[in-house]
Structure formats: C-alpha cells, structure tokens
Amino acid sequence: MTLIVQSQSLHFDEPLLLQSGKSIHDYDLTFETYGTLNTDKSNAVLVCHALNASHHVAGVYANTDAKIQEKSTGWWDNMIGPGKPVDTDHFFVIGINNLGSCFGSTGPMHINPDAKKIYGADFPVVTVEDWVNAQALLMDKLGIKVLAALMGGSLGGMQALSWTLQYPDRVRHAVVIASAPNLTAENIAFNEVARRAIVTDPDFHEGHFYDYGVIPKRGLRIARMIGHITYLSDDVMNAKFGRQLKQSLGLDAAVKVNSQAGAYNYSTLDVEFQIESYLRHQGDKFAEYFDANTYLLITRALDYFDPARQFGGDLTKALAIAKAKFLLISFTTDWRFSPSRSRELVKALLDNNHDVSYAEIDAPHGHDAFLLDDPRYTSIVRSYFDSILNEISLKVAA
C-alpha cells in the first residue's frame, strides 16, 4: 500500500540564538509525520537529514498522475513506513527540514524580516547544534518531551549524536549511521572544492544571485559531481561504468572494439566515457532544484561539527553527558565516513560505559550504502527498532 503524505509547516516568532552569536526570528520549519503518536507520546522517532535531503523521508505526495506520484517517493522510504524496518504502524516518525535548507524551512531564498529582502548570503551560518535546537523547539510544539529514537545517516547521524549531548534527557536511543565525530581534513577539502565551484561561478553574485534572476548552476553542477564521486566506491563505479564509452552503450564487447561506435572521438570537450555522462546528468539534475547558498551553509555545518572541540579534542569527555543507548552502523567501502570514524565513536561510548551496539556492514556501495537496501543492514535496524518497541510496550504495561 502506498503511503500518501503531506508536509506541514510551523512558524516560530521567538528569536533562536545561534552558535555564532547571531540569531534568527520569524522562521518556519517544514516537516512531515508518519504513523500515530501514542497516548503517552513515547513512540516518537525523529529522522534527521543529510546534505541534500529534506523532511520528505517516506511515502509519496498525492498526484493523479501515478508516474509523478511515484517520483515523489521519500528519500528513506525503503527504511521507514508501514511494515518497514522503522515501522510506522508502531512508531510516530517525524522528518524535519533544517534551517537554511531549500525544501520549505526558512532558508537563504526567503525574505529576511529585518532587511525586508531576500537573505541570500546574509542568511546566518547555522550549525548542527543550531539545527538540533530548532528541532527541539518543534518537538515542544508537537508536545513530544522525549524521543524514543533519533536516527540519521552521515550529517543526519551527526545531528542524532548531537541530540544526545544537547538534550540527553530527551533521547532514549540514537541510531547513527555512516557518520563521524567530525570531518577529516580530506573531507573538509572536498567541501571546500565544492564551495569554490559555486562561489567562483560568475552567476553567484556574492550570494545575491536571486536579485539578478540567475542561478550559479555551473558551480552547483561541479559541486554535485565531486560530491557524488565521494559517495561511491571505486569498485561500484567500475562495476557500473568501467571504461564504457557513452556512444557504445548497450553494444556488446566485440562490436564496441570493431565498429565506429567503439572508437574514441579524440575530443577533450565531448562526453566520451559513460561515467562523464552520468556525472553531468547528476549535476544538471541537482542544479535544477538545489540552492547554492544552502549548499554552502550545509557543507559549512558539516565542517564545523566537532563535539570534542570544547573538551580539548577528548571525544570520551564530550560523550560523557549522553544518556541514550546507541546503535552505530558503518559500511566497509565508505571512504567519506569510514568505519574507523564510527569506531572512534564506539570507543568514546565504551569508555563511558554507555550502551552501544555497532555493526560494520561489508557493502560495496561506499557512503551511499546507507540509503540502499542490504538485508544485513536493514535487518539490524529492524531488530533494533523492535527492541525499542518492546521497551515502550513494557513501560506501558508497567
């Protein structure tokens, strides 16, 4: 059965003090919910999104055209929904769009109520901690004091982790997938290349491109291309594209070598290899819907996240305050958020005697694996949420 969903927004007048010292007021948070909140409000699960996703986690938006409806499937629909590993027949799941994003919540493309013009580059820098504070305010409005679980992958996992440190009494479980306690230099470097691509696009206009009626699409495309490369593994890219030429697609090997279709064009400008075509397509698609300032803001939030920083780099001390139980999952071929980063988190949790389970899934898909179906991965998540459900029903019984 298809889950038909709708997004909602709530308005917040009160200023939200940000980590930078600035604040933002009169902002909206867009979110979706799936399932039913039980009477004692103990079955709520908040799902945090990563770089380019949104509050639209599961289900589809109603549309009379079945094809359009199908295309609107939520980004974690394979994981969350009725009968799915995070079963919305039992859990009340909330997806939320973060501040600064471009899918509904207030972001750089909206009007700055103080300046009475579009924020653009003036949108304040937001951090993971700021997002978590905003999410907590939304939970307040929904009447949810304690979350049965926080869940997120990658940057979403950082938010789940941060919840356990900022609101230790409001989180029972944190499911942190393909994430890290902070970004490595290499990771920040990738973000910086993406940002430079956007900022140096002549259409960027110092972040105020909206005033000029243009979009720095060239920059966005390149940002997406480099990002996309880092989300895949070498093996998966080779398996999918190899050295396949674009124009010989679908031809068998013998034909490729002997026919014109298999010959090089000896051009530096044409799309020659299939991987180029794929990356360009991904870049084009992305530039159509993603906001350039949002890309800068979110990658910066990634760079800044480092809960150990205020403890002199001591992650064990940083995680001491957490009270949640943790499930951590990493993927062996993920080199952007590698298993060793998850193990750092595991070690810090162990040092504090916090409850933690950790699964290292031997999947070939790189960082993207956290969005894909792998029975070893999904069955661990399902079992973990089953045990959360047991806890909830035991509490109700008692």
Partner: protein
Amino acid sequence: MSDLATMQAIAELVPMGSRVLDLGCGDGALLDYLHSTRNCTGYGIEIDDANVLACVKRGVNVIQLNLDEGLALFDDASFDVVLQIDTLQHLRNAEVMLRETARVGRLGIVAFPNFAHWPNRLSVLLGRMPVTRRLPYQWYDTPNIRVGTHADLRELALHNGLKVLDSFGIQEGRSVRFAPNLLAGTSVFLFTR
C-alpha cells in the same frame, strides 16, 4: 558449548555486577544470562553478521570487530572480566589475544576444547582425528585453526607471564578437578596479569 549447564558453570566464575567484555560472544546468550542472573553489564565482540544480528535481537550490546585485528579499542584494565569462551581456537593470533585478554580485563576467563580429552587421544591413537560432540568437525573443514590441550594452555599462560588463578575442566556441564587434561572435553582457565 551453548548448553545451559556449561553456561552456568562459566557464569559462576564471573563476580556479581561485573563489567564484562565477551570476545567472540556468538549469539549473545552468555551475556544475556550474565545480565539477568548476575547483574552484569558489558559488550560482546563478534565478527559474524548473523551473530551480530542475533545479539541486537536479544538487546545485548555487540560490537562488530575482527579479533585478529586486536583490541586497540579497549584500554588497560577497562573491564572487570574479559571472557574468551570457545574463541581462542578460531584466532590466528591466539597468543596475542591471550595477552590482550589479560591487559583489558582485571580477570580473564578462557574456555576452549581440550584436545587431550581421552576420547580424542583414543581416536588419534587409532589413527584418526577425533570427531565428537565437542569437536564435531572433520579435519578438513574445521573452523578450529588452533588445536591445544589443557596442559598446553597452562604452558602458554605461564610463558606470557600470566598468573593462573584457577584452572579446571568441564565435562557434561560439571567441573572436573581431577586430571582435567584427560577427563574433560572443555578446559577453563582464570588468570590475571
């Protein structure tokens, strides 16, 4: 060695309320048992996907790691008890892991199949590798890459400067204190650094 009597015999060696690390914890049954009967907390280490899943299903804390990569994740004496139950025989670096067990745990408990148990001796004497309830594998497909005896483990422990606090055998769920090297299918050692 998941039968209840053996599990109880091992559990009795673990002080009440201990913080336990179970190396090669299988489906988490022992940790679950230690939690419910002896108020212990702790973690299991497993490499096998199905066992990791089984632990999560039971609600037992499990960390998926390859023990042959060492215990760098764990600080010295960070656990009251480190268990190595039917794990040693699968490890490439069995000696290192014995030392690591003593380093990470204030108390180490190792149990493994005793190859010098008399039916095994008899089998070898008759010219064939033993296939028994305790060692149910054919020589060519056994996951047990280390074959040792109760006496051998004592030697290895002493050679590594470990203090053996107690050692005995387990047979049919009962402790064997007399001639365990001959009379017990399972060898058990309690040791410390």
